[in-house]
Structures are given as structure tokens and as C-alpha cells.
């Protein structure tokens, strides 16, 4: 049995459609960025799913970790003055 350990590098694929932000769609394998763009097109846009593609080497992505979630995303709920309902509006004021 031959060793299969010769897969091409992994790239993450982001696609933009219409006026929406780029959305992560999945990944592909490719040797360089041109091939990555072509493979992403062939795999993720066969039915007109987008007009622009970004490809990023998977190992170039920095990510937050689930373990640090609570600390990292502290919602500062004590700052209640950041919500519109904190403020008292004068009687009779409309459309505000």
C-alpha cells in the first residue's frame, strides 16, 4: 500500500454574494493561491453562489478559543447606560 501522505495545503474559502459580507463556506486543498481560487470556484460556486472569492491558508487564521470565551467576551453588563432603555424620555416626546 502506497503512503497517501501527500495532500496539498489546506485553504479556507470565503464567498461574497450580492451586498452581503464575505461568508465562510468551507475549505479546499491547493498548492498555491491561483489553484486555491480555481478549486474554490469549482467546488463552492457551481450554481451561481457568489461573485467574489477569498482564499486564506488555514494556518494563517488566528482564532479565539472556547476556553477563554467568558473572559474574552465579557459583555460588560454592568454598563447599563449603553442601552437605549436606560434613558428617561420626557412625557409627550415622539419618534425617539
Amino acid at each position: 500500500m502506497e503512503n497517501n501522505n501527500d495532500q496539498l495545503p489546506l485553504w479556507e474559502v470565503f464567498i461574497q454574494k450580492g451586498g452581503s459580507p464575505f461568508k465562510h463556506e468551507g475549505s479546499i486543498h491547493a498548492s498555491d493561491k491561483n489553484m486555491a481560487l480555481q478549486n474554490a470556484r469549482d467546488i463552492y460556486t457551481r450554481r451561481g453562489e457568489g461573485r467574489l472569492i477569498w482564499v486564506v491558508p488555514s494556518n494563517a487564521i488566528a482564532s479565539t478559543s472556547v476556553e477563554d470565551e467568558a473572559e474574552f467576551f465579557d459583555p460588560s453588563d454592568d454598563k447599563i447606560y449603553r442601552h437605549p432603555t436606560f434613558y428617561k424620555m420626557p412625557e409627550g416626546a415622539k419618534n425617539i
Binding site: G26, S27, S63, V66
Partner: protein, 313 residues
Amino acid sequence: MTEEEKLIRFNSLIEQDEKIEPKDWMPEAYRKTVLRQMTQHAHSEVIGMQPEGNWVLRAPTLRAKKILLAKIQDEGGHGLYLYSAAETLGMDRSTMIQQLHEGKAKYSHIFNYPTLNWADIGAIGWLVDGAAIVNQVSLQRTSYGPYARAMVRICKEESFHQRQGYEIMAHMMEGTKAQREMAQDAMNRWWWPSLMMFGPSDKDSWHTQESMHWKIKRSSNDDLRQKFIDKTVDQAYVIGLTVPDKDLKFNEATSHWEIGAINWDEFWNVVKGNGLCNHKRISHHIQFHNLGKWVREAIMAYAEKNNQLQTSN
């Protein structure tokens, strides 16, 4: 977080129908089950290209040939969505391919049956893809996020597959006596294996309970199978095909079609490697994977050379 807190968080995500994402903590058995199911599903899509590829050069018209090529391209794409989803759990693609080649990873038993006449291509689209759609629609709600999202993509593309298959069958049933016989012959050979695609009966399925509990599977094998039977029996009737089951009867009380006994010995025999095409499918995959080796080496050498040129400039 302690291990116990992690498990509580995981269970509550499942409970609330939230998705589990690649970086979330998950029980080892959950990871293993999802990974096994996704790789098996990916391999099935890719191996499934072979029985159809058998008819590309013999498709009866240019229209039929173009459709078949587009369908096979979709199946390859579906395999790649699923490999990509499976890789999020940390196993790399080469390991998956290696496991397929070594027989450690399975693919759907259905692709070990041969495609003997043109109507088989109709039967695959209508019955095999039809059964796959019932399963995949249900899996759009699976608890592992990347798997669910791959299923949404796949389902969007599958209905073309099923409709083109049914059109082939309908067309042949309007043809000569010989063509009608070919269509019925394909129906006779593919009906029962298609029903087996949903897996063993619930009472004999080891995996079902745990998978349902974790919402990896959202419906049981028997429920999905019944859904497929109810849809398909009527479709067969519309074009004049006979369902090859002398015990088939409609239950007025439940409004379901009831089938005769499934020959599970046949199913297990094919799963264990003794189907007509098991050996052919895998040896074909190994042969072409190895033939592509020099291409992978060449494009990597080219990419590295280009990188060096760029850094030295």
C-alpha cells in the same frame, strides 16, 4: 472549566438545538461518531461516481451525456464538501483516503452493485439519490454545525439528480417493449438495495440510540425508510413500474405502504466486502489516486519554486 462543566455545557447546547462547532468541547464518543459518519458519507459520494461513470461513454444521446457528466461532477463536489466538514474535527484528508484504501473506512453498500443497462442510471437517480435525499434532508438538522451546513448545500443540488433519474425511467416506460423490460429489470435490481441504504432496522441498529440522543441523527432508520417507501411506491405506479415485492400492501389505517421482509443477509454480505463490485471500486480508487501522485508532487515543486523566487526578489 472542569470536565463536568464542559459536559453540562455540551449537553445544554444539544438540548437547545444549538450547533456544536469544531472548537467546542465534545465527548470523545461524539467526535468519533460524527467523524465516522461524515467520512463514510464523503467516501460514498466519491465512490458513487464510479457506477455512473460506467455509462458516460455509452449515454444514448448528447443531452443524456451532458446531464450525466454534470451529475457526476456534483457527486464529486458533495464528497469534497463532506471531506472539508470532516477535516474540521482534526483528521487530515490523506488519513481519510488511507483508511478508505485499507478498508478501515466504509462507504454506502449500494455502490457495490453494477450498472448493467442504461435504465440503471435512471434507477440510481430516482431510487438511490431519492433515498439519499430523504436521509440528507433529515441531516440538515444534525447537531454538528459543519455537517449540517454541508447537508444544506447538498440538498439544494440533489433534487435535480432525482428528477433526471425519474425522467429516464418514465421515458423508457413510454418506449418499446425491450425498453420497458430494461426499466423494470433495473427497478427489480435496485429497489431492495435502495431500501437497505437506510441501514438496519431500529431494533438491530447499535448506533441509532446514541446518535439520536446527541441529535447526530434526527430520525430513525425505519422512519426514514418508510418516508421513502411512501413517496416512491406512488411514483412507480404513475409510470407503470411494478414494485418487486409480493407482500407490498397499503395500510388504510396508518396510510402507509407496508413492505415484505428485507433480506439483511444480502446487505451484510455486501457490507463485509462480498458484493459484486467491492473489489473493483476500491482498486479503481487506489489506481487513480496513485496515478495522480506525480501531479501532486509536480505542483508542489512548482509552488515552492515560485515562493522562493518571490522571497528572493
